[in-house]
Amino acid sequence: MPKRKTKTAFIGIKLTAQEAALLTKLQDGLNSTTKTQVLLKGLDLMDKVYLSTSVSSNVALTEKEEMSSPIATNLELARLEYEARQYSIRVQQAKSKTKEVMRQVAQELSKTDEIVDKHKGDKSKLIQVLLELQRENKWLSEESLKWVSQKLDVPLTQIYHMATFYKIFSLVPKGRHSIMVCTGTSCEVRGTSHLLDRVIKTLKIRPGETSSDMRFSLGTVKCLGCCALGPVMVIDGKYYSRPSVKEIEQITATLD
């Protein structure tokens, strides 16, 4: 087995020598090589520790209160107990949510790993890496950009320069269905502004926005090259030529 290189950083966090050694040990011990698995294992461990401390602190609280409990403070005690319970529930909820989010992040990052590895960590392939990420997730999250920055050894500012320069990249999550209205020259002279108005009226979102239920994202595109159909609208890759308000309503109603 080749000797594992000692990590100096992990998911963007600088490690001390002690932590780095621990990480290497952990990776070897788990017999797994990817960061994702280490991350997931770490989450599991964290969960267990959290659970035990929260339970024991509850117990401690009750004991302490009981030891010095005059009857007059009973009400106060009940209130405190109630609050403590509520707090504990909230912590549990927050933890499970954090866990879910972390799991998603971990998944996203492992996908990012795959993409970066596919391009052999070549810095000059930064655009291609970001393009594939965008295609995979429909947006570029801060976590994944930091990950790319670290893996390709490219400053984060440079990555943001690129991610904000090109139109294809989105720094906010996109809806499940993409709706694009062509505003190329040919569609423009054929009156695409009316089509865009109709779509805005139906979906109640403006270009660049996503509906609050994450169903639709509306965008404009400069020419799709099917000028004969103009003004044209594309929903999830399907083309619609000169749709009326009623047609737009019908089409969008069928999408969940």
Binding site: D122, K123, S124, K125, L126, I127, Q128, L130, L131, Q158, H161, M162, F165, Y166, K167, I168, F169, T183, G184, T185, S186, E188, V189, R190, V221, K222, C223, L224, G225, C226, C227, A228, L229, G230, V232, Y239, S241
Partner: protein
């Protein structure tokens, strides 16, 4: 299949492919590029495939997808060979009738033919006015070959020019031939290709690159896409010839990610060419090595500029740099890099096959050969056309395009995309070539051609192009970033009825600054739309400012329509 080792191998492969083809066998082809796919050409293909089986015709009829025929306004286009019957606007429901009538009984379904308007129906594609007035060379193979099958391209004589070059010509001879042909860059600027090649060849440095510019960010232009989607081998062949002439062993194709089918077909083409020994080490046994890498652009108009494109290939943000030193001398990683447009590369094999003499016999004195245009806007026959240089705008719009939609009065034709200008109706007899268009304040540019009628407001069109350009300006240099922004501000004012009397003068003044002092071609040509509309439609500007009126009834706001 083993790799081809010589020109003779290629010739015998061609014979082998042709021997397998029966010219009298029934064959149905369906245009299946983006334009036709948008109108359900895939469904038509599936319907044919199922019903051919159901009618027991499998084996008797070939069914193939082909590249774009250009007549996008009337897609999907189905052609039946050997009769060469062209059916337009075919829907999946029409398939049964085509099979029972044409394939079984050898009769014509006349309702699907082109209607000439005078009661005549036209069955042959070449007879349809849209095609009749064109001269198709570069674009001709699209309709007969399947882009995903290299054999189709070889069968029509593909890679023959490459074989000639590698077996009979020295690199200098290739450059000489291209120079003699006076081929000018089809990307729009019209720089002599031969001279560019020579510069790159003579530039010092061992490692050199050749690049295909397919970053067609121009709204309303789609020729590059059609060529890459429909005939990627044609572009590749030109590129390999260029690489040999220049002495490059590595090529790049820079293509927009908005063109997924082009990327897909190109990838397939590269794979097939490598397998056949037309790419990679020792091409056709000549000892010449060359390979190609595909780069996807992420959507930036400015990336079509050569230095910006090359910066982007290096993995950095695609912003242009001053070109005191040409990219042919110092481009990607400061090595000599020769960049040409898709159409330019695709033209090269024709020059080698037919000779520079043939090429110079077509076109005008300053612009030789044919040119591809996308004809769109308020025109009846939208589509992609190839005409000799020097054909007049009137011939293009009326003979080929069939005139304006609903026969409204034509107001102007816009050429060259956002960086070009508009030409009014009275200049329709202008012969279209590089120099003539520049002289009139427009340009060849991306060779998009947008027809506008009386319902289009010229001030609004100028505003549209500036708002496009302000989105696309990379922001590196001030004249472009700030100047175009201020011009747009003024146009917004005029279009909403709050324009001032001296706004026109101010527009002209800023235009001079922007075009004179911008870093790259984008800024230099950005004011064209404003200047040309001011030149030919000043009265519309004045109506907006003085009378608070939009003559075309387009501009909203405080204006009376």
């Amino acid at each position: 299949m083993t790799r081809l080792q010589s020109a003779n191998d290629l010739e015998s492969l061609k014979k082998e492919i042709l021997a397998k083809k029966d010219p009298n066998k029934l064959c149905v082809t369906i245009c299946s590029q983006t334009g036709c796919q948008a109108v359900l050409s895939e469904e038509v293909f599936r319907a044919f495939s199922e019903q051919i089986d159901r009618n027991g015709l499998r084996g008797k009829v070939d069914l193939r997808r082909t590249g774009c025929h250009g007549f996008c306004g009337r897609g999907p286009i189905v052609t039946v060979f050997p009769q060469n019957i062209c059916y337009l606007g075919v829907k999946p429901d029409d398939v049964a009738e085509i099979i029972s009538t044409t394939l079984v009984k050898n009769k014509v379904v006349s309702r699907l033919l082109y209607d000439a308007g005078d009661g005549r129906k036209i069955a042959q594609e070449d007879e349809i006015p849209f095609y009749k007035y064109q001269s198709r060379f570069v674009f001709a193979n699209n309709r007969v070959i399947d882009a995903k099958n290299i054999d189709d391209y070889i069968a029509v004589g593909g890679y023959r020019a490459l074989a000639t070059v590698l077996s009979e010509m020295m690199p200098e001879q290739v450059i000489d031939e291209v120079k003699k042909a006076s081929l000018r860059g089809r990307g729009g600027a019209g720089f002599p290709t031969g001279i560019k090649w020579e510069t790159a060849r003579n530039a010092s440095g061992k490692i050199k690159y050749v690049i295909v510019n397919a970053e067609e960010g121009d709204p309303g232009a789609f020729m590059d896409r059609i060529l890459l989607e429909g005939n990627p081998h044609g572009v590749l062949e030109g590129l390999i010839i260029g690489a040999y002439a220049i002495g490059a062993h590595q090529g790049f194709v820079y293509v927009r990610q908005e063109y997924p089918l082009a990327v897909e077909n190109l990838m397939v083409a590269l794979k097939q060419a490598r397998k056949d020994g037309l790419l990679g080490r020792n091409i056709l046994g000549s000892g010449f090595d060359f390979d190609v890498e595909v780069h996807c652009g992420a959507g930036a108009f400015v990336e079509g500029e050569s230095s910006a494109l090359m910066t982007s290939i290096e993995g950095r943000v695609g912003e242009p740099r001053p070109k005191y030193i040409r990219t042919a001398v110092s481009g990607i990683w400061e090595r000599p890099s020769n960049l040409n447009n898709v159409k330019t590369w695709a033209t090269v094999p024709f020059i080698i096959n037919n000779g520079a003499g043939w090429f110079t016999s077509i076109g005008t004195s300053g612009s030789k050969g044919t040119m591809l245009f996308s004809l769109a806007g308020k025109v009846k026959n939208t589509g992609l056309i190839e005409v000799p240089m020097g054909m007049t705008l009137r011939e293009i719009v009326f003979n080929i395009g069939g005139g304006t939609i609903d026969d409204k009065r034509l107001k102007a034709v816009q050429t060259g995309g956002p960086l070009g200008g508009v030409l009014p109706e009275r200049l329709l007899d202008t012969p279209v070539d590089f120099d003539e268009l520049s002289r009139l304040g427009s340009m060849m540019g991306s060779s998009g051609m947008i027809v506008m009628d009386e319902d289009n407001c010229m001030v609004n069109i100028a505003r549209y192009f500036l708002s496009f350009l302000i989105d696309e300006s990379c922001g590196k240099c001030v004249p472009c970033r700030e100047g175009v922004f201020r011009m747009l501000e003024i146009l917004n004012r005029i279009c909403t009825g709050t324009g001032k009397l001296d706004d026109i003068k101010l527009l002209e003044e800023i235009s001079g600054m922007v075009s004179g002092f911008s870093l790259c071609g984008l800024g230099a040509a950005a004011p064209n739309s404003v200047l040309s509309t001011l030149k030919y439609f000043r009265d519309e500007y004045e109506a907006h400012i003085e009378e608070k009126r939009c003559p075309a009834g387009v501009c909203k706001g405080a204006l009376i329509s």
